[in-house]
């Protein structure tokens, strides 16, 4: 039995008259690791900050642990949440250790041994002022600070954007360990699809302010296929209007189609229409992402 930790109900959000989120609805169950994908400006940060109450939705509701975020006040609920913002919010004059001590004072529970271990693994110099840390080191420190109180629900806004490949790998392993250790839920946005593939068990993809994809990673990869018709084969109107067809293009003389929900019925339909046996090609997550944005 899993609990719903986050509910988005038809959430709209815009800035200066420009709509960024155009009616997003979703639910997150405890223990899920969700990767949030989208191109630059798609609204990933807006979505995360709206979920956390930093921005208030223009319409719709966002609930964390069953409480609307705009009236979130209970300290015990707030302390179940961890957040790594896209731009770190460290105090430049403080060393990492001082900043961690400062943040720790807010929480009743603080796992300092965990942070010491992670600082060593991530190679974060804790006795250096934040102003003298590199961008990557600051990002690592931000991640540490967000994990110190061992939150149940962790939000990370492009946490690996400035990390080197080694640090990225270590960070992802840490995420996997955290999920394995306890019943934690993670929602993180990223541009690096391969990272998401390694960690996430569910994918959200935002495009044009809408949640275009909300599916388990395996299911998404299983059901999304690309089919290349033989040269000269015509694409009938039935296929063109098929609702699961997300992209159709012509490469040289062949028609290339991408379907979001491939099943036996569609296989038969295509076979009839093209007088041949279609050979569906399953796509990687990165390919799916690219196909959706063509």
């Amino acid at each position: 039995m899993t609990d719903t930790v986050l509910t988005l109900d038809n959430v709209f959000k815009g800035f200066d008259g420009a709509a960024v989120l155009k009616g997003i609805s979703a639910q997150v169950q405890s223990g899920e690791v969700i990767g949030l994908l989208g191109i630059n400006g798609a609204g990933k940060t807006t979505l995360l900050e709206t979920i956390l109450g930093y921005a208030l939705p223009d319409a719709g509701t966002v609930s964390l642990f069953g409480v609307a975020t705009n009236v979130l006040h209970d300290e015990s609920l707030k302390h179940r949440i961890g957040f790594v913002p896209q731009r770190d919010e460290l105090l430049d004059q403080m060393t990492g250790r001082q900043f961690i001590e400062l943040v720790a004072r807010f929480y009743d529970h603080w796992n300092q041994p965990l942070l010491d271990r992670l600082a060593q693994e991530f190679d974060v110099p804790l006795d250096v002022r934040a102003s003298k840390l590199s961008v990557g080191q600051r990002q690592k420190l931000s991640i540490l600070v967000a994990l110190g109180h061992e939150p149940e629900l962790i939000f990370l806004d492009e946490p690996v954007a400035s990390l080197d490949p080694l640090a990225r790998r270590r960070f992802l392993q840490t995420l996997i360990d955290l999920v394995a250790e306890g019943d934690r839920t993670i929602l993180f946005s990223t541009h690096i699809v391969s990272d998401l593939e390694r960690v996430a068990n569910r994918v959200w993809l935002i495009k044009d302010g809408l949640l275009k994809v909300d599916a388990a990673l395996d299911e998404l990869k299983e059901r999304t296929v690309r089919i290349t018709l033989p040269p000269g084969a015509a694409v009938s109107d039935t296929i063109r209007t098929e609702e699961t067809l997300i992209h159709l293009r012509h490469e040289q003389e062949s028609a290339v189609m991408v379907f979001s929900h491939w099943d036996a019925a569609r296989h038969d339909l295509l076979a009839r229409q093209t007088n041949g046996m279609p050979e569906p090609q399953h796509l990687s997550l990165e390919e799916i992402f690219l196909e959706l944005h063509r």
Partner: protein
């Protein structure tokens, strides 16, 4: 040799063209000097006051901003890689100081030749040396301040000297002894250039710059801490109580004294210039002005409450109450500070009590008005330039009205009217801002982020956010 000189000139050009702060400074200083020049055509009383204010701006503004520009330049790693870049940067600054003073002198002489030559006893050499010492030592001290806290307190010595030397007749010993002024100036520059011989990295200049970067409320100082976690996160380490004390000392005492010191330069033109009550009035006005500007810098606290949202118990309304408690404590402390100054002035020189009462009232109302005005601008995320222009307009309007009021003796009604209007506006703004705080999108209005090269230092970044 030519190449070295060329580099210095290039650095001077770089100061004036590349850095926005310096561009604005140069433009305002040139405008002030042009006003000085034009005022030569005016009647004597107008020329006298106007040219003092204009030249005060022309000298004082570069003095405040050049140090910050220097730190930004030498802290830029790409520039630091140029051989002896810090030398050329310092020499470029020296050249800038020399040009400023020479230009000012030229304006004075030219304006004097037009109308007032017969009435003045200007000694160009004395004026040049003293002005140059004034500007260059100010620039140098501002440069060192970022590294040494003691420098800020030491800096107070100079305006204090300028104000009290004539009273204590110290100047009498130096008058006619211009080489002493020249030696003092050269000595200061030599000491500074000697200090520059050490590589910037070893000297820790880059580190100091990172701390300096913020502007008045966010990073001028690197000492002290706020012991309570919510306060530290919201106000930042740089805004600790100890730092606030330093702000007060430097900006509400030091700056006004510096302006008064500038006015004492007028005595080189006319020994009977500026009576003590006039100088006290100038000091009080500047003190109010600086206090209000510092109060306005608290607008950043409102934005930094974002950092408390997921950590501090309570709703947005509770956060606003916490924020406002901090603001009100600050305003009350400022008012008490004004009361102490007023009492001290009354006890020592028996200054008009009515004006001192008005000063204390304004010491409470003006910072409140400017605080809520600045928070309003930040909360509505106005573009940086519009924020700066609007804030300067508000400050300018208030200052101009107060100057007008203080220049004439029977001004109680006018000052009361100003105080009443300012209170009303502050209360209205407070209501608007409190409502806005409950709906604000923190993702659209983030705390100012200071870059590691120093940002726009010099006290303006709290409003421009550049």
């Amino acid at each position: 040799m030519t190449n070295r000189f060329g580099r210095t000139l290039a650095m001077l050009w770089f100061y004036l063209t590349w850095m926005p702060l310096m561009r604005y400074t140069a433009a305002i200083a040139l405008l002030a000097l042009a006003v000085t020049l034009l005022l030569g055509l005016a009647v004597d009383s107008v020329w006298y006051l106007g040219s003092m204010v204009a030249s005060g701006i022309a000298l004082g503004l570069p003095l405040m901003t050049c140090g910050a520009a220097f730190r930004q330049v030498v802290g830029n790693m790409r520039i630091a890689l140029v051989p002896k870049a810090h030398w050329h940067a310092a020499l470029g600054l020296l050249l800038l100081a020399a040009i400023t003073v020479a230009w000012l002198l030229a304006c004075y002489l030219l304006s004097g030749q037009l109308e007032h030559a017969a009435e003045r006893t200007l000694d160009p050499l004395a004026f040049t040396l003293r002005s140059f010492l004034f500007v260059s030592s100010g620039m140098l001290l501002f440069q060192w301040l970022a590294q040494y806290r003691a420098g800020y307190y030491f800096w107070l010595v100079f305006p204090l000297y300028n104000v009290f030397a004539p009273v204590l007749h110290i100047d009498d010993h130096l008058r006619g002894n211009e080489p002493v002024w020249a030696l003092l100036t050269v000595g200061l520059w030599a000491a500074f250039l000697f200090a520059m011989r050490r590589p910037a990295r070893r000297r820790g200049l880059a580190g100091a710059m990172a701390g300096f970067s913020g502007g008045m409320a966010c990073g001028w100082f690197e000492f002290g801490s706020i012991t309570k976690a919510p306060g530290t996160l919201m106000r930042g380490v740089a805004d600790s109580t100890a730092n606030r004390l330093a702000y007060w000392l430097v900006f509400t005492l030091g700056m006004p004294l510096l302006v008064v010191a500038l006015f004492t330069l007028a005595k080189l033109f006319r020994p009977e210039a500026f009576s003590v009550p006039q100088l006290v009035s100038v000091f009080l006005l500047m003190n109010l002005y600086m206090g209000a500007v510092i109060a306005a810098s608290n607008c950043e606290w409102a934005i930094r409450t974002r950092l408390l949202w997921l950590r501090y118990p309570g709703t947005r309304a509770d956060l606003w109450r916490y924020l406002e408690t901090n603001i009100l404590w600050f305003l009350v402390t400022m008012a008490v500070f004004s009361l102490l100054i007023a009492t001290l002035i009354h006890l020592t020189i028996g200054f008009a009590p009515r004006l001192l009462v008005m000063y204390v009232v304004c010491g409470l109302i003006l910072p409140a008005l400017l605080t809520y005005t600045a928070i309003t601008f930040r909360m509505w995320a106005l573009p940086p330039l519009r924020q700066a222009v609007a804030l300067i307009a508000v400050i300018g309007a208030v200052t101009a009205t107060m100057v007008t009021a203080l220049m004439y003796r029977d001004n109680s009604a006018l000052l009361l009217a100003i105080a009443g209007a300012a209170t009303l506006v502050a209360v209205l703004l407070r209501l608007r801002v409190a409502h806005r705080f409950r709906r604000i999108d923190w993702c659209a209005i983030r705390p100012i982020r200071f870059n590691r090269n120093g940002g726009l230092a010099g006290g303006f970044s709290w409003t421009t956010g550049i």
